[in-house]
Protein backbone atom coordinates (compact mmCIF):
# COMPACT_ATOMS: atom_id res chain seq x y z
CA UNK A 1 0.00 0.00 0.00
CA UNK A 2 1.23 3.47 -0.84
CA UNK A 3 2.40 5.93 1.80
CA UNK A 4 0.05 8.90 1.70
CA UNK A 5 1.91 12.07 2.66
CA UNK A 6 0.20 15.43 2.97
CA UNK A 7 2.25 18.60 2.69
CA UNK A 8 0.35 21.11 4.78
CA UNK A 9 0.83 24.29 6.79
CA UNK A 10 -2.26 26.32 7.57
CA UNK A 11 -0.62 29.52 6.43
CA UNK A 12 -0.19 30.29 2.76
CA UNK A 13 3.04 31.12 1.00
CA UNK A 14 5.33 29.13 3.27
CA UNK A 15 6.49 26.68 0.60
CA UNK A 16 4.00 23.81 0.45
CA UNK A 17 3.97 23.52 -3.32
CA UNK A 18 7.73 24.06 -3.65
CA UNK A 19 8.25 21.36 -1.05
CA UNK A 20 5.72 18.94 -2.57
CA UNK A 21 7.37 19.30 -5.96
CA UNK A 22 10.90 18.87 -4.64
CA UNK A 23 10.08 15.94 -2.38
CA UNK A 24 7.90 14.18 -4.96
CA UNK A 25 10.54 14.45 -7.63
CA UNK A 26 13.26 13.45 -5.18
CA UNK A 27 11.42 10.29 -4.17
CA UNK A 28 10.87 9.42 -7.83
CA UNK A 29 14.55 9.98 -8.62
CA UNK A 30 15.27 7.37 -5.95
CA UNK A 31 13.32 4.88 -8.04
CA UNK A 32 9.98 5.01 -6.27
CA UNK A 33 6.67 5.31 -8.02
CA UNK A 34 5.24 8.66 -6.96
CA UNK A 35 2.08 10.59 -7.70
CA UNK A 36 1.77 14.24 -6.77
CA UNK A 37 -1.77 15.50 -6.23
CA UNK A 38 -2.71 19.17 -6.24
CA UNK A 39 -5.59 19.63 -3.78
CA UNK A 40 -5.81 23.38 -4.30
CA UNK A 41 -9.03 23.30 -6.31
CA UNK A 42 -9.56 26.58 -8.11
CA UNK A 43 -5.97 27.75 -7.62
CA UNK A 44 -3.82 25.11 -9.20
CA UNK A 45 -0.12 25.82 -9.18
CA UNK A 46 1.69 22.55 -8.71
CA UNK A 47 1.63 22.09 -12.51
CA UNK A 48 3.49 25.38 -12.92
CA UNK A 49 6.13 24.53 -10.33
CA UNK A 50 6.56 21.11 -11.96
CA UNK A 51 6.79 22.69 -15.42
CA UNK A 52 3.93 20.70 -16.92
CA UNK A 53 1.26 23.42 -17.06
CA UNK A 54 0.84 23.14 -20.82
CA UNK A 55 0.17 19.45 -20.68
CA UNK A 56 -2.88 19.64 -18.42
CA UNK A 57 -5.92 18.25 -20.22
CA UNK A 58 -8.05 16.70 -17.52
CA UNK A 59 -7.87 17.32 -13.79
CA UNK A 60 -8.75 15.91 -10.37
CA UNK A 61 -12.36 17.15 -10.54
CA UNK A 62 -12.85 15.66 -14.01
CA UNK A 63 -11.79 12.31 -12.60
CA UNK A 64 -14.14 12.67 -9.66
CA UNK A 65 -17.07 13.61 -11.89
CA UNK A 66 -16.35 10.68 -14.16
CA UNK A 67 -15.54 12.96 -17.11
CA UNK A 68 -12.14 11.37 -17.57
CA UNK A 69 -10.32 8.31 -16.36
CA UNK A 70 -7.53 8.61 -13.84
CA UNK A 71 -5.08 7.63 -16.55
CA UNK A 72 -6.21 10.43 -18.82
CA UNK A 73 -5.75 13.01 -16.10
CA UNK A 74 -2.37 11.86 -14.80
CA UNK A 75 0.56 13.72 -16.37
CA UNK A 76 3.73 11.71 -16.63
CA UNK A 77 6.79 13.72 -15.69
CA UNK A 78 9.19 14.17 -18.62
CA UNK A 79 12.28 13.96 -16.42
CA UNK A 80 11.43 10.92 -14.30
CA UNK A 81 9.12 8.28 -15.70
CA UNK A 82 8.06 6.97 -12.28
CA UNK A 83 6.50 10.33 -11.36
CA UNK A 84 2.99 11.47 -12.24
CA UNK A 85 1.08 14.64 -11.45
CA UNK A 86 -2.66 14.92 -10.89
CA UNK A 87 -3.50 18.60 -11.41
CA UNK A 88 -6.21 20.48 -9.55
CA UNK A 89 -9.00 22.01 -11.55
CA UNK A 90 -8.79 25.70 -12.25
CA UNK A 91 -12.44 26.62 -12.45
CA UNK A 92 -14.70 24.23 -10.57
CA UNK A 93 -15.92 24.87 -7.11
CA UNK A 94 -14.13 23.14 -4.30
CA UNK A 95 -17.20 21.32 -3.04
CA UNK A 96 -16.55 18.78 -5.78
CA UNK A 97 -14.28 16.86 -3.42
CA UNK A 98 -15.91 14.66 -0.82
CA UNK A 99 -14.42 12.10 1.52
CA UNK A 100 -16.00 9.31 -0.50
CA UNK A 101 -14.87 10.30 -3.96
CA UNK A 102 -11.40 11.39 -2.88
CA UNK A 103 -11.08 8.11 -1.01
CA UNK A 104 -11.90 6.20 -4.16
CA UNK A 105 -9.29 8.03 -6.22
CA UNK A 106 -6.65 7.53 -3.54
CA UNK A 107 -7.47 3.86 -3.31
CA UNK A 108 -7.02 3.43 -7.03
CA UNK A 109 -3.73 5.36 -6.94
CA UNK A 110 -2.61 3.39 -3.91
CA UNK A 111 -2.50 0.25 -5.99
CA UNK A 112 -0.28 1.89 -8.60
CA UNK A 113 2.16 4.00 -6.62
CA UNK A 114 4.54 3.77 -3.66
CA UNK A 115 4.02 7.36 -2.56
CA UNK A 116 1.03 9.66 -2.84
CA UNK A 117 2.08 13.23 -2.06
CA UNK A 118 -0.87 15.56 -1.44
CA UNK A 119 -0.17 19.26 -1.86
CA UNK A 120 -2.67 20.94 0.46
CA UNK A 121 -4.24 24.34 -0.07
CA UNK A 122 -3.65 26.95 2.63
CA UNK A 123 -6.23 27.53 5.33
CA UNK A 124 -8.33 25.16 7.39
CA UNK A 125 -11.32 24.99 5.10
CA UNK A 126 -12.76 21.95 3.35
CA UNK A 127 -9.97 21.70 0.75
CA UNK A 128 -7.22 21.53 3.34
CA UNK A 129 -9.25 19.06 5.42
CA UNK A 130 -9.70 16.86 2.37
CA UNK A 131 -5.97 16.89 1.62
CA UNK A 132 -5.10 15.68 5.11
CA UNK A 133 -8.04 13.34 5.72
CA UNK A 134 -6.50 10.16 4.32
CA UNK A 135 -2.88 10.93 5.18
CA UNK A 136 -0.54 8.48 6.86
CA UNK A 137 2.09 11.15 7.33
CA UNK A 138 2.10 14.92 7.34
CA UNK A 139 4.89 17.28 6.44
CA UNK A 140 4.04 20.44 8.35
CA UNK A 141 5.74 23.20 6.40
CA UNK A 142 6.59 26.12 8.63
CA UNK A 143 8.48 29.40 8.34
CA UNK A 144 10.38 30.61 11.41
CA UNK A 145 7.85 33.37 11.91
CA UNK A 146 5.06 33.81 14.47
CA UNK A 147 1.96 33.52 12.29
CA UNK A 148 3.27 30.49 10.44
CA UNK A 149 4.17 28.65 13.65
CA UNK A 150 0.79 29.38 15.18
CA UNK A 151 -1.05 28.17 12.07
CA UNK A 152 1.08 25.04 11.99
CA UNK A 153 -0.05 24.30 15.50
CA UNK A 154 -3.68 24.67 14.42
CA UNK A 155 -3.05 22.20 11.62
CA UNK A 156 -1.46 19.77 14.09
CA UNK A 157 -4.71 19.96 16.01
CA UNK A 158 -6.66 19.13 12.84
CA UNK A 159 -4.37 16.22 12.02
CA UNK A 160 -5.04 14.82 15.46
CA UNK A 161 -8.82 15.25 15.37
CA UNK A 162 -10.18 15.53 11.85
CA UNK A 163 -8.27 12.88 9.90
CA UNK A 164 -9.44 9.43 8.98
CA UNK A 165 -6.90 7.94 11.35
CA UNK A 166 -8.28 10.06 14.20
CA UNK A 167 -11.89 9.23 13.37
CA UNK A 168 -11.24 5.50 13.22
CA UNK A 169 -9.00 5.55 16.26
CA UNK A 170 -6.04 4.21 14.28
CA UNK A 171 -2.41 5.00 14.88
CA UNK A 172 -2.13 8.79 14.56
CA UNK A 173 -0.71 10.53 11.50
CA UNK A 174 3.07 10.64 11.64
CA UNK A 175 4.00 14.31 11.86
CA UNK A 176 7.15 15.85 10.41
CA UNK A 177 8.35 19.41 10.81
CA UNK A 178 9.80 21.02 7.69
CA UNK A 179 11.24 24.42 8.43
CA UNK A 180 11.58 26.51 5.28
CA UNK A 181 13.07 29.93 4.45
CA UNK A 182 15.52 29.56 7.31
CA UNK A 183 18.19 32.17 7.67
CA UNK A 184 20.95 31.09 10.08
CA UNK A 185 22.47 34.55 9.99
CA UNK A 186 19.29 36.21 11.23
CA UNK A 187 18.91 33.50 13.87
CA UNK A 188 22.39 34.28 15.14
CA UNK A 189 21.51 37.95 15.28
CA UNK A 190 18.44 37.16 17.37
CA UNK A 191 16.04 38.29 14.68
CA UNK A 192 14.56 34.93 13.76
CA UNK A 193 13.21 31.95 15.67
CA UNK A 194 15.76 29.14 15.68
CA UNK A 195 15.14 25.52 14.70
CA UNK A 196 15.15 24.60 18.38
CA UNK A 197 12.64 27.35 19.22
CA UNK A 198 10.17 26.06 16.63
CA UNK A 199 10.77 22.46 17.67
CA UNK A 200 10.14 23.42 21.30
CA UNK A 201 6.87 25.14 20.47
CA UNK A 202 5.40 22.59 18.07
CA UNK A 203 7.06 19.55 19.67
CA UNK A 204 7.11 17.35 16.59
CA UNK A 205 10.16 15.64 15.05
CA UNK A 206 12.22 17.63 12.58
CA UNK A 207 12.35 16.34 9.02
CA UNK A 208 14.37 19.10 7.45
CA UNK A 209 15.51 22.68 7.38
CA UNK A 210 15.52 24.45 4.02
CA UNK A 211 17.62 27.59 4.01
CA UNK A 212 16.30 30.79 2.47
CA UNK A 213 17.71 30.51 -1.01
CA UNK A 214 17.64 32.33 -4.32
CA UNK A 215 17.60 28.94 -5.98
CA UNK A 216 13.93 28.49 -5.04
CA UNK A 217 12.69 31.41 -7.12
CA UNK A 218 14.93 30.44 -10.02
CA UNK A 219 13.54 26.91 -9.86
CA UNK A 220 9.93 28.04 -9.96
CA UNK A 221 10.71 30.48 -12.77
CA UNK A 222 11.98 27.57 -14.82
CA UNK A 223 9.44 24.95 -13.72
CA UNK A 224 12.26 22.74 -12.50
CA UNK A 225 11.79 21.64 -8.88
CA UNK A 226 14.65 23.00 -6.79
CA UNK A 227 15.88 19.53 -5.86
CA UNK A 228 17.23 19.30 -9.42
CA UNK A 229 19.54 22.21 -8.64
CA UNK A 230 22.02 19.92 -6.92
CA UNK A 231 24.55 22.72 -6.44
CA UNK A 232 22.16 24.88 -4.42
CA UNK A 233 21.85 24.71 -0.65
CA UNK A 234 18.05 24.41 -0.89
CA UNK A 235 18.38 21.56 -3.40
CA UNK A 236 20.78 19.73 -1.11
CA UNK A 237 18.53 20.32 1.90
CA UNK A 238 15.53 18.83 0.05
CA UNK A 239 17.67 15.86 -0.96
CA UNK A 240 18.37 15.29 2.74
CA UNK A 241 14.63 15.46 3.43
CA UNK A 242 13.96 12.78 0.81
CA UNK A 243 16.67 10.54 2.24
CA UNK A 244 15.26 10.95 5.74
CA UNK A 245 11.76 10.09 4.52
CA UNK A 246 13.28 6.90 3.14
CA UNK A 247 14.62 6.05 6.57
CA UNK A 248 18.19 7.28 6.42
CA UNK A 249 19.75 9.19 9.29
CA UNK A 250 21.34 12.32 7.96
CA UNK A 251 22.85 15.17 9.87
CA UNK A 252 21.13 18.53 9.49
CA UNK A 253 23.00 21.03 7.35
CA UNK A 254 22.76 24.77 6.74
CA UNK A 255 21.95 25.53 10.36
CA UNK A 256 24.80 27.95 10.96
CA UNK A 257 25.72 31.04 9.02
CA UNK A 258 28.76 30.82 6.83
CA UNK A 259 31.74 32.20 8.65
CA UNK A 260 33.02 35.43 7.27
CA UNK A 261 36.55 35.50 5.94
CA UNK A 262 39.21 37.44 7.76
CA UNK A 263 39.08 40.33 5.31
CA UNK A 264 35.37 40.94 5.48
CA UNK A 265 35.65 40.68 9.25
CA UNK A 266 38.40 43.29 9.37
CA UNK A 267 36.72 45.64 6.99
CA UNK A 268 33.18 44.91 8.14
CA UNK A 269 32.05 43.60 4.75
Amino acid sequence: MARIIVVTSGKGGVGKTTSSAAIGLGLALKGHKVVLIDFDIGLRNLDLIMGCERRVVYDFVNVINGESTLNQALIKDKRVSSLSILPASQTRDKDALTKENVGKVLEELGGLYDFIVCDSPAGIEAGAMMALYYADEAIVTTNPEVSSVRDSDRILGMLASRSRRAELGLEPIKEHLLLTRYSPKRVEEGEMLSVDDVKDILSIPLLGVIPESQAVLKASNAGEPVILDTESDAGKAYQDVVDRLLGETIEFRFLVAEKKGIFSRMFGG
Binding site: E145, V146, V149, R150, D153, R154, G157, S161, V187, E189, G190, E191, M192, L193, S194, D197, D200, I201, L202
Partner: protein, 92 residues
Protein backbone atom coordinates in the same frame (compact mmCIF):
# COMPACT_ATOMS: atom_id res chain seq x y z
CA UNK B 1 32.01 49.99 39.76
CA UNK B 2 29.78 52.13 37.61
CA UNK B 3 31.60 50.99 34.51
CA UNK B 4 31.04 47.32 35.31
CA UNK B 5 27.37 47.99 36.04
CA UNK B 6 27.03 49.64 32.71
CA UNK B 7 28.27 46.57 30.86
CA UNK B 8 26.33 43.97 32.81
CA UNK B 9 23.12 45.91 32.67
CA UNK B 10 23.42 46.30 28.95
CA UNK B 11 23.73 42.55 28.56
CA UNK B 12 20.65 41.86 30.64
CA UNK B 13 18.61 44.29 28.68
CA UNK B 14 19.34 42.67 25.37
CA UNK B 15 16.11 40.82 24.75
CA UNK B 16 16.09 39.82 21.11
CA UNK B 17 12.97 39.95 18.99
CA UNK B 18 13.35 36.22 18.38
CA UNK B 19 13.11 35.46 22.09
CA UNK B 20 10.07 37.72 22.33
CA UNK B 21 8.50 35.81 19.46
CA UNK B 22 9.19 32.50 21.16
CA UNK B 23 7.71 33.63 24.45
CA UNK B 24 4.55 34.99 22.81
CA UNK B 25 4.12 31.85 20.75
CA UNK B 26 4.56 29.55 23.72
CA UNK B 27 1.80 31.36 25.57
CA UNK B 28 -0.69 31.58 22.72
CA UNK B 29 -0.08 28.03 21.50
CA UNK B 30 -0.51 26.61 25.00
CA UNK B 31 -3.72 28.61 25.38
CA UNK B 32 -5.13 27.47 22.05
CA UNK B 33 -4.22 23.85 22.70
CA UNK B 34 -6.10 23.97 25.98
CA UNK B 35 -9.29 25.27 24.48
CA UNK B 36 -8.97 22.74 21.65
CA UNK B 37 -8.75 19.73 23.88
CA UNK B 38 -11.58 20.68 26.16
CA UNK B 39 -14.48 18.44 25.17
CA UNK B 40 -17.22 18.56 27.77
CA UNK B 41 -17.76 15.42 29.84
CA UNK B 42 -21.42 15.20 28.91
CA UNK B 43 -20.81 14.86 25.18
CA UNK B 44 -20.71 11.03 24.93
CA UNK B 45 -23.90 10.67 26.98
CA UNK B 46 -25.61 13.44 25.01
CA UNK B 47 -24.72 11.67 21.78
CA UNK B 48 -26.19 8.44 23.07
CA UNK B 49 -29.42 10.13 24.21
CA UNK B 50 -29.93 12.04 20.96
CA UNK B 51 -29.44 8.85 18.96
CA UNK B 52 -32.00 7.04 21.09
CA UNK B 53 -34.60 9.72 20.53
CA UNK B 54 -33.90 9.86 16.80
CA UNK B 55 -34.23 6.11 16.48
CA UNK B 56 -37.73 6.24 17.84
CA UNK B 57 -38.72 7.90 14.61
CA UNK B 58 -36.18 7.23 11.91
CA UNK B 59 -33.44 4.82 10.95
CA UNK B 60 -30.04 6.25 11.79
CA UNK B 61 -26.87 4.24 11.47
CA UNK B 62 -23.77 5.15 13.46
CA UNK B 63 -21.98 6.18 10.27
CA UNK B 64 -24.66 8.59 9.19
CA UNK B 65 -24.59 10.48 12.45
CA UNK B 66 -22.00 12.87 13.76
CA UNK B 67 -21.91 15.35 16.58
CA UNK B 68 -19.47 18.15 17.06
CA UNK B 69 -19.02 20.81 19.67
CA UNK B 70 -16.98 23.66 18.24
CA UNK B 71 -15.64 26.67 20.05
CA UNK B 72 -15.92 29.69 17.83
CA UNK B 73 -14.19 32.97 18.54
CA UNK B 74 -15.16 34.52 21.82
CA UNK B 75 -17.69 32.82 24.04
CA UNK B 76 -19.73 31.23 21.30
CA UNK B 77 -20.08 27.45 21.28
CA UNK B 78 -21.74 25.65 18.41
CA UNK B 79 -23.22 22.22 18.76
CA UNK B 80 -23.36 20.69 15.34
CA UNK B 81 -25.42 17.62 14.52
CA UNK B 82 -25.17 15.89 11.21
CA UNK B 83 -27.75 13.27 10.37
CA UNK B 84 -27.89 11.59 7.01
CA UNK B 85 -31.36 10.42 6.11
CA UNK B 86 -31.60 7.30 4.03
CA UNK B 87 -34.14 6.76 1.28
CA UNK B 88 -36.18 4.28 3.26
CA UNK B 89 -36.92 6.99 5.82
CA UNK B 90 -38.66 9.14 3.27
CA UNK B 91 -41.46 6.71 2.66
CA UNK B 92 -42.47 6.57 6.32
Amino acid sequence: MALLDYFTRKKEKQVTTASKAKERLQIIVAHERNSRNKQPDYLPQLTEDILQVLRKYIKVSDESFSINLDKKDGDLNVLELNIELHDDNATN
